[in-house]
């Protein structure tokens, strides 16, 4: 005799919104006439994500932490904060998806993925005005998965969420309209490696289950408290962490990142860089703090190490990149390292400013990197975006505004004061140093100095170099963005500045939200 699990619909509202929108999107895909499908899909997706955003924000007013859905979901400060972040960034990414003014073919996505790349049919499809709209429900599902991921209070749910967020990503990263070979290759790589990684996660899950007899984070915690730590548990932890670090693209599990970021359609890359990072770290935080918060002495050195590796690899490898998307990929690896510096900042007693700092950093990084990729979509040449560094030379003289905005984002990524990036860095490094991890902070600071070099190089190119291809009269053009991209740029740029100059309120929010349940 099984009694129905308790469900607090209020707490689930955000998730219901997104998944609802996703399902509706599927139906629309099936039944709505193709001609007018695109606006509808966009609307549905936006309504879903924005609705989710609104509801999470509503939940934050006088909310009490609770574990619902038979203990499967934790609706607490971090969950809500991160869900809001994901929903918001997700909405912005969807706007990038919906941009139709830039590409002469009205969309960044292939019309029909089934047509072999380079085939005659493909070539004629390249120019037709038709756009395909499956990406919207797919992306919406991914967003839902991510929001579920950060709220999962149960390893199994976490696994399911992981798959729900990954599978659509695998697909849409293969849907680029131009340079399809690269896009497909990215998809394959991402898929195979992703599946590989989730297998690790799953095995870890199984071992933990074996060790503690449960997959509830709370139970694991108490079990690890009671039974100490046996080999199974530790192995389980290790494999779980591997699975998550992969998603967070932390070295040495980063190898897929540059290839996929470069190959995937730029809006999708932006989406992955911003939202996946948030989701993955949300899960990492929850797993480490809630389930293994008492066993921190086991994982702290590990995180310490991978943080350093990740920062160094990201910063150093970024130096010699010539493709902007790839460069930003390495920068995202480095930033994963900085984020882990914040994770270290978890106090021994679960207090400490690490949690808040990391969440704030996730928000600022998401916004900034999203904006940066959005700018990338503007600079184009004959076949799509002009992402090679040399093509950006002298951009400032051609269109000062775009150059200025890009400069803002780059300075933020470099962590120059009065930008969001600096506030975030300051927060996480403070958290780390408070926990006495000042050597780590020092390494992080030096790494960011190294990383600053390749951000600077872009600025140097844009401002101090003669325009590319000026003598041949060709070279990349800077497209006039349509409404969606304009909105994205406006929001991200404003936020990047605002969070740099007056971060107070958002910091409070993160601070107050920074308590886990269970």
């Amino acid at each position: 005799m099984i009694e129905a699990p308790d469900l607090s619909l209020a707490a689930l509202a955000p998730l219901l919104f997104v998944f609802g929108a996703a399902c509706i999107g599927v139906l629309v895909e099936a039944f709505w006439p193709r001609e007018s499908r695109h606006p509808v899909q966009v609307t549905v997706a936006l309504v879903g994500t924005l609705g989710a955003l609104v509801t999470t924000l509503l939940l934050t007013v006088d909310f009490e932490r609770e574990i619902t859905a038979a203990g499967a979901l934790a609706v607490d400060g971090p969950a809500l904060f991160l869900q809001a972040t994901i929903a918001g960034l997700g909405a912005l990414s969807l706007l990038l998806f919906a941009e139709r003014a830039l590409d002469p073919a009205r969309s960044a996505f292939v019309v029909s993925a089934a047509v072999p790349a380079g085939s005659p049919r493909d070539r004629e499809l390249l120019t037709v005005q038709r756009v395909q709209t499956e990406v919207y429900p797919l992306a919406t599902f991914a967003i839902g998965g991510m929001m579920l991921f950060v709220a999962a209070n149960d390893l199994l749910i976490m696994f399911v969420a992981l798959e729900v967020l990954s599978l659509p990503l695998y697909l849409i990263s293969g849907l680029a309209r131009r340079r399809r070979l690269l896009s497909q290759e990215a998809a394959v790589k991402y898929f195979l490696l992703g599946a590989f990684a989730s297998a690790f996660f799953l095995y870890g899950l199984a071992l933990v289950y074996g060790a503690t007899g449960s997959v509830r984070l709370g139970d694991i915690r108490s079990a690890s408290l009671a039974g100490g730590t046996d080999v199974l548990l530790v192995l389980g932890l290790a494999l779980l962490v591997v699975g998550l670090l992969f998603k967070a693209s932390v070295a040495p599990f980063h190898t897929w990142t540059p290839d996929v970021y470069q190959g995937a359609p730029t809006p999708v890359t932006a989406f992955m860089a911003a939202c996946t990072k948030v989701a993955a770290f949300g899960a990492i935080l929850r797993l480490l703090y809630v389930a293994f918060g008492t066993a921190e002495w086991t994982w702290r050195p590990l995180v310490y190490a991978v943080a350093i590796v990740s920062m160094v690899v990201g910063a150093v490898l970024g130096l010699t990149q010539t493709d902007l998307k790839r460069m930003l990929a390495y920068s995202s690896i480095a930033h994963a390292g900085f984020l882990l510096t914040g994770v270290i900042g978890l106090g021994a007693a679960g207090d400490g400013s690490g949690l808040a700092a990391t969440m704030f950093y996730l928000l600022t990084y998401g916004l900034t990197t999203l904006g940066a990729f959005a700018v990338l979509t503007l600079v184009r040449d004959g076949d799509g975006e002009a992402t090679h560094l040399s093509q950006w030379a002298g951009l400032a003289s051609r269109s000062p505004l775009v150059a200025a905005v890009m400069t803002l984002f780059l300075l933020a990524l470099a962590g120059i004061p009065l930008t969001a990036g600096f506030t975030g860095k300051f927060a996480v490094f403070r958290a780390a140093i408070e926990e006495g991890a000042w050597p780590l902070a020092l390494v992080a600071l030096l790494a960011s100095a190294v990383a600053a070099f390749f951000y600077l190089r872009v600025i140097v190119l844009m401002y101090f170099s003669p325009p590319a291809g000026a003598e041949r009269g060709q070279g990349p053009t800077v497209g006039v963005p349509g409404m969606p991209t304009t909105i994205v740029l406006a929001i991200t740029a404003t936020a990047t500045l605002a969070l740099g100059i007056v971060p107070g309120s958002v910091l409070d929010l993160a601070e107050r939200a920074a308590i886990f349940v269970g």
Binding site: T423, R430, W438, L442, L445, A449, V460, P466, G504
Partner: protein
């Protein structure tokens, strides 16, 4: 008068001015120049009024104002000045209009707009004021780093042939220093958090902490390295010759005249009072760096063939003197060091300007491309000579007073270092007079004077390489009215402060002796 937000205004006015200039429509360069000059003059006026409002006998920090900025970090937007900061503000107020006047007709690299240049200059001025006026360490750090951006663009967009390299080098050097300092800043915050219950960045609060010596050493190093790179002390100096020589003259003047002073200012304002024990512990090492720097940089200056590089190296040598004065831990020496910061700004500023005017005429930075200019351009030569004499600290010029104070003040505490440093004044005479003789004296020759390129003057080898400005005809060789107007105030200041420096000393001394008290009364 004292509760009026002078400092805030001094930051806001140039910042707004920068925005206005930048917003001007394309092609309105003249208007841009006029606006920029106007704004900078307003700032100068504000600086003077601030000086009037400042009560020499009064509290250590005056005209203070504080607004909470980032609550979670305990950061507040706190401004306030002591005597040291005041004189630096005055220096900024004087130099910026001069620089703008000097850059009036600069030839900029391909398709660079004048108005962008002036906008950056004004923004830089705002940042510099902020750095000296901040009494909150976090705020100081923010200005300290943000200051890099305008300078980076000034060098990178408007500089010489190797400007990209120079700009990036400048930025990275400073950034590395700044980030190391950031760690120390946070560390300081954490200490305050543990000692005062809640973390703060307020300078006055931090001064009260008593920090465990071990931690002090670490934090001191964090701050020190940043400042030593800024100042710059040997061996952290190699960025300065590149930046100094590649930057446009205006930028170079502000870079060496004011920006680098942030380093020495930082020693005095932050390193000594916050970490007295560590300061005492590291003093010998710093003194070694300082003294080595004095001689090393002076010898290098003699070896330069590029005038701007030469001047940059002389500055490094001078910064050695300043550091010596600060870390000798006596009121006289430290007062001299602060005065040195001001005087060096004026003297080397003038030197850079004059060299710049020469380069603008000849189009070459190589000493070898000039000769006998004095015969053709007596005014230019005269200004050059005054600047040079000030830079070799001849009595009667302002620099003498400060150098004399530094040396005589350091001697009782650090005789050996002082004696070695004193040898530096011979080298100073050498590098200045060598440059002066080669460019101004001797028979007229060089790029300025070859009428027909058929028979090139001796030593113009490098000229063609670094030719950036069109060669002028001999008629306009001497200083124009505008240039005269730019040079005169500085010359006047050099003489005036050389004869009657006491007013400045009266302003500086209280702040310095207060610092010495923080240090724990080393100075009896």
């Amino acid at each position: 008068m004292t509760d009026f937000p002078w400092l805030l205004l001094m930051i806001a006015v140039p910042a707004v001015g920068a925005a206005v200039v930048a917003a001007l429509p394309k092609g309105r360069d003249l208007l841009a120049k006029q606006v920029a000059l106007g704004v900078s003059l307003v700032v100068l006026l504000l600086a003077v009024l601030t000086a009037i409002a400042f009560d020499t006998g009064g509290d250590r920090f005056q005209l203070t104002s504080s607004v909470t900025w980032i609550e979670d970090f305990g950061v507040s937007f706190a401004l306030g000045i002591d005597g040291i900061a005041l004189v630096m503000l005055l220096l900024i107020g004087v130099l910026v209009p001069v620089v703008i006047g000097a850059s009036w007709n600069d030839e900029l690299p391909e398709q660079r707009s004048m108005k962008a240049y002036f906008a950056w200059l004004l923004l830089l001025e705002a940042m510099m004021v902020g750095v000296f006026a901040a009494t909150d360490v976090f705020l100081f750090y923010v200005f300290f780093e943000a200051m890099l951006v305008p300078m980076y663009f000034i060098i990178g967009s408007f500089g010489g042939p190797r400007r990209q390299y120079a700009a990036v080098k400048f930025f990275l050097y400073s950034l590395v220093g700044g980030l190391i300092m950031l760690a120390a800043v946070i560390g300081l915050y954490v200490v305050s958090n543990s000692q005062l219950g809640e973390g703060t960045f307020a300078f006055d609060a931090l001064r009260q902490l008593d920090i465990d010596p071990g931690v002090q050493k670490l934090l001191f190093l964090g701050f020190f390295i940043a400042f030593a790179i800024k100042a710059p002390l040997v061996p952290f100096h190699t960025w300065l010759p590149d930046s100094g020589s590649e930057a446009p003259i205006g930028g170079a003047v502000l870079l060496v005249g004011v920006l680098d002073k942030v380093g020495t200012f930082g020693f005095l304002r932050y390193c000594l009072p916050l970490f007295p024990d560590a300061s005492r512990f590291f003093a010998p090492f710093v003194l070694v760096l300082a003294v080595v720097g004095i001689l090393y940089a002076a010898l290098l200056a003699m070896g330069q063939s590029d005038m701007k590089r030469l001047v940059s190296y002389t500055s490094i040598s001078h910064f050695g003197f300043i550091a010596l004065g600060i870390f000798a831990f006596t009121t006289e020496a430290a007062t001299g060091a602060v005065l040195y910061m001001v005087n060096h700004g004026i003297a080397t500023g003038l030197l850079f300007l004059v060299v710049g005017m020469l380069i603008a005429r000849g189009g070459s930075r190589q000493i070898g491309d000039y000769g006998g200019v004095a015969a053709k351009a007596p005014l230019l030569a005269g200004a050059f000579l005054v600047a040079g004499l000030a830079s070799l600290a001849l009595p009667g010029t302002n620099s003498f007073v400060s150098e004399f104070l530094v040396l005589i003040g350091s001697f009782p505490e650090e005789p050996v270092f002082t004696i070695i440093a004193t040898v530096g004044i011979i080298l100073a005479a050498l590098y200045i007079l060598l440059m002066y003789q080669r460019t101004m004296h001797g028979p007229a020759r060089g790029v300025l004077l070859q009428e027909d390129p058929a028979e090139p003057a001796p030593g113009t080898g490098g000229a063609t390489a670094v030719l950036t400005a069109p060669r002028r005809s001999l008629r306009v060789l001497d200083l124009s009215r505008r240039e005269l107007a730019v040079v005169t105030p500085l010359v006047a200041l050099i003489i005036a402060l050389g004869v009657y420096p006491q007013p400045l000393l009266d302003v500086i001394e209280p702040a310095v002796s207060a610092t010495m008290d923080d240090l724990g009364g080393i100075d009896q």
